[in-house]
């Protein structure tokens, strides 16, 4: 049994704004074992990005506030970590790909400088010039090497300049400018950019959305993160480009076999990429389990209706089922189960008693993840039409 790369325990995040308190993430628990891809699906506005950004503590605090819970990354809870120490966790620790490729690259800097900065940061950490979590193995080797993760508590308390100044200088001398450039080119080739030399000196606005997203992916991978969070990496792109980037993501996931949190509002996309699947509804994780199992026997009425709404090639004469009702306002959530106004299974108890939050105790890479659903009547869901 391996220690999970990330385990989120009962995490709740609110946005406190003038209009009220928005419970964007409520009592979410999930585990990502090494080398596993965990997908999260949910409608727009259900709190997926909030969850993604709460993990590396990227949310603007305020208005966001982590009300309770733990985000245990490689053994250390990140929630109490002071802000000044968070840069150590990011980069080689946690990397992220954002939804909006138009804005996720800095418009004022050349592509080369932006990727080289990420590579340089990793070099400095590997050389011990910058304090960091211990750099994980190279992304290609996650599955092949036994992963020995140091305790992050040790790493966080490590002095800023380990080793003598002489060691540091020696390490620095090893890296030359051309090394850095070659490495940047390698990562651009990794994301299937054919002649990367030509784009090095370009600015983001000179590139298409798909190209920018590839560069964003290259940038995230070039830091060799132990955990990669992909927040809807294809959603904002044109449909054809979306397919290309999705293919790239799938290939990379196979090659890299890193621990990945893959977020999407599209069940089909997650089905193709993830090993485990979490379904979010109105800030809660309503179902969690292995992808194949959830697709076969969903245990939450919401998941069931989501699955029904995927258009199927073979049943094109099906009327597109829509879920009646609308997503609740996150500042005025219904009492009891948040899904009850729209649930065909709902009984009186559902309007009073919230179903217990699903709790993922432990999963291992070898064994299948256990299947959980936050519903009073989970057993009856397979019988739904």
């Amino acid at each position: 049994m391996t220690t999970p790369v990330l385990s989120v325990e009962n995490l709740s995040v609110d946005y406190e704004v003038g209009a009220g308190v928005f419970h964007a993430v409520s009592d979410i628990s999930l585990v990502i074992p090494p080398g596993r891809v965990v997908g999260i699906v949910g409608e727009t506005g259900c709190g997926k990005s909030t969850l993604a950004q709460a993990i590396p503590r990227l949310l603007p605090e305020p208005p966001a506030r982590i009300r309770s819970g733990k985000v245990i990354f490689q053994g250390t809870d990140l929630v109490p970590v002071p802000k000044a120490k968070l840069p150590m966790v990011r980069g080689t620790g946690i990397g992220m790909i954002f939804q909006e490729p138009l804005n996720s690259l800095n418009p004022a800097f050349r592509i080369y400088d932006q990727i080289a900065e990420a590579v340089q940061m990793r070099h400095w950490r590997e050389d011990g010039i910058l304090p960091s979590f211990h750099p994980g193995p190279a992304p290609f080797d996650y599955s092949r090497r036994p992963i020995t993760m140091p305790s992050t508590a040790d790493v966080l308390s490590r002095p800023v300049m380990p080793g003598t100044a002489k060691d540091v200088m020696a390490a620095r001398r090893v890296r030359t400018r051309t090394d850095l450039r070659d490495e940047v080119l390698d990562y651009l080739r990794l994301v299937r950019i054919n002649d990367p030399e030509t784009i090095l000196s370009l600015y983001p606005h000179e590139l298409s959305g798909g190209m920018r997203q590839r560069i964003m992916i290259a940038m995230a991978l070039s830091a060799k993160p132990a955990l990669l969070i992909a927040d809807e990496p294809t959603s904002a792109l044109d449909v054809t480009i979306q397919a290309q980037v999705l293919t790239l993501m799938k290939e990379l996931i196979d090659e890299v076999s890193a621990s990945i949190l893959y977020i999407s509002h599209d069940l089909g996309v997650v089905a193709e990429t993830a090993d485990d699947l979490g379904v979010m509804y109105a800030g809660r994780l309503v179902e969690f389990g292995p992808v194949a199992e959830i697709f076969q026997t969903p245990r939450h009425p919401y998941t069931k209706s989501l699955l029904r709404s995927i258009p199927t090639r073979y049943k094109s004469d099906w009327p597109m089922p829509t879920i009646p009702g609308s997503v609740p306002n996150l500042s005025q959530l219904p009492a009891g189960c948040r899904f009850h106004p729209r649930c065909s299974l709902a009984r009186p108890v559902c309007t009073q008693e919230p179903p217990p939050a699903l709790r993922v105790i432990e999963t291992t890479v070898g064994a299948t993840t256990s299947h959980h659903a936050a519903c009073h009547y989970a057993e009856e869901v397979p019988g739904l039409p």
Binding site: G91, A108, M216
Partner: protein, 340 residues
């Protein structure tokens, strides 16, 4: 897309050409405001002048307006900017005094950039919290204090407390080196005279500081609002996700973009700074054109009409050039601007 050196020269050249009609317009306006009167202005312009001078003046005013303007314009271009009431030509005085004003304005701009902009970043970073309010109180107090009050408070009360001189460029009236540029610090550096460099800097701090304090609000406020626009954008988050420190994220990634919009205040600020020199230079006995304008406007007795007009033209030129620089900076800072 053109963004190589040649394109940049074309870009700057174009802006410069666009500036010429603006300058012409300003001079025309200045002329119309000061030279087109329904009544004969000569006795007021030259109250103690001889009969001969008055006759010349009146002969000039009896000509058609366009002819008058042409005469005025060609004289202006030839460096004949008129003379004071005592017959002292204006142009040489302006060229000798202008560098001192430029030095003062550049020093205040330096302070505004290295104090005002970081204050704006702090205000944005702690928006709505006490640090932000403190920054706001600071720049609003600068803004709301009348220039002469700020200058007098600094010169009379602050100067003895902090031990800084509150007047003139140097402690001695005639420093032992040539006044090549007429900028006190630059001249001292050129002469290789270290004690005088320090002395000149000490004399510069208070007037430049007061001027910067009064005008700093522009820079701080623009930086703050531009930062607030930039900070929620995803590239700031991607920079954070590289593991960069908060300082690098803020001052390299966010501020670099916020500055693109913040440069536009440069033009506005230049106007304020130049206007401020009139009072500041008078209070701090700074030998620039601001003090000259004060005297020319009758601050020291008789008004010097040609001198006042000359200062107005120089100030207008300064504002227009500052806007030109802001424009060019904008083009250079924003890679999305095509230089062609």
């Amino acid at each position: 897309m053109g963004r190589n050196l040649e394109d940049l020269l074309i870009f700057i050249g174009k802006r410069f050409l666009q500036l010429l009609p603006v300058l012409f317009g300003i001079i025309l306006l200045m002329f119309l405001v000061t030279h087109v009167f329904p009544l004969n202005p000569c006795p007021r312009w030259y109250p103690k002048a001889s009969q001969q001078v008055l006759a010349n003046c009146e002969a000039q005013f009896s000509q058609p307006v366009l002819t008058q303007f042409w005469t005025y314009f060609t004289k202006l271009l030839a460096g004949n900017w008129g003379a004071s009431q005592f017959g002292q030509p204006v142009y040489p005085v302006i060229t000798e005094r202008f560098p001192a004003t430029l030095e003062l304005v550049l020093a205040s701009m330096f302070l505004m950039i290295f104090i005002g902009i970081p204050l704006g970043v702090i205000g944005a970073q702690y928006a709505g919290r006490w640090a932000d309010h403190l920054v706001r109180v600071l720049y609003l107090s600068g803004w709301s204090i009348p220039t002469y009050v700020g200058a007098i408070v600094a010169a009379v009360f602050l100067a003895p407390v902090v031990g800084l001189p509150a007047g003139h460029e140097y402690s001695t009236t005639s420093p032992p080196f040539a006044q090549v540029t007429h900028m006190s610090v630059v001249d001292a550096i050129l002469a290789g005279n270290f004690p005088y460099t320090v002395d000149a800097l000490e004399h510069l701090i208070l007037p430049a500081g007061v001027l910067a304090f009064i005008e700093m609000g522009n820079a701080t406020r623009m930086t703050r609002s531009a930062m607030l626009e930039v900070m929620p954008l995803e590239y700031v988050k991607s920079a954070r996700m590289k593991g960069l420190s908060n300082f690098i994220v803020m001052y390299k990634h966010a501020l670099r973009n916020a500055l693109i919009t913040a440069t536009t205040v440069l033009g506005v600020t230049a106007g304020g700074l130049l206007a401020g020199t009139v009072v500041i230079e008078e209070v701090f006995s700074w030998p620039g054109i601001g003090a000259y304008a004060f005297a020319a406007l009758g601050g020291g007795g008789e008004p010097n009409f040609d001198g006042a007009i000359a200062v107005v033209i120089v100030f207008a030129l300064g504002v227009v050039i500052a806007n030109l620089i802001a424009d060019i900076l904008y083009g250079v800072l924003d890679p999305r601007v095509d230089w062609r």
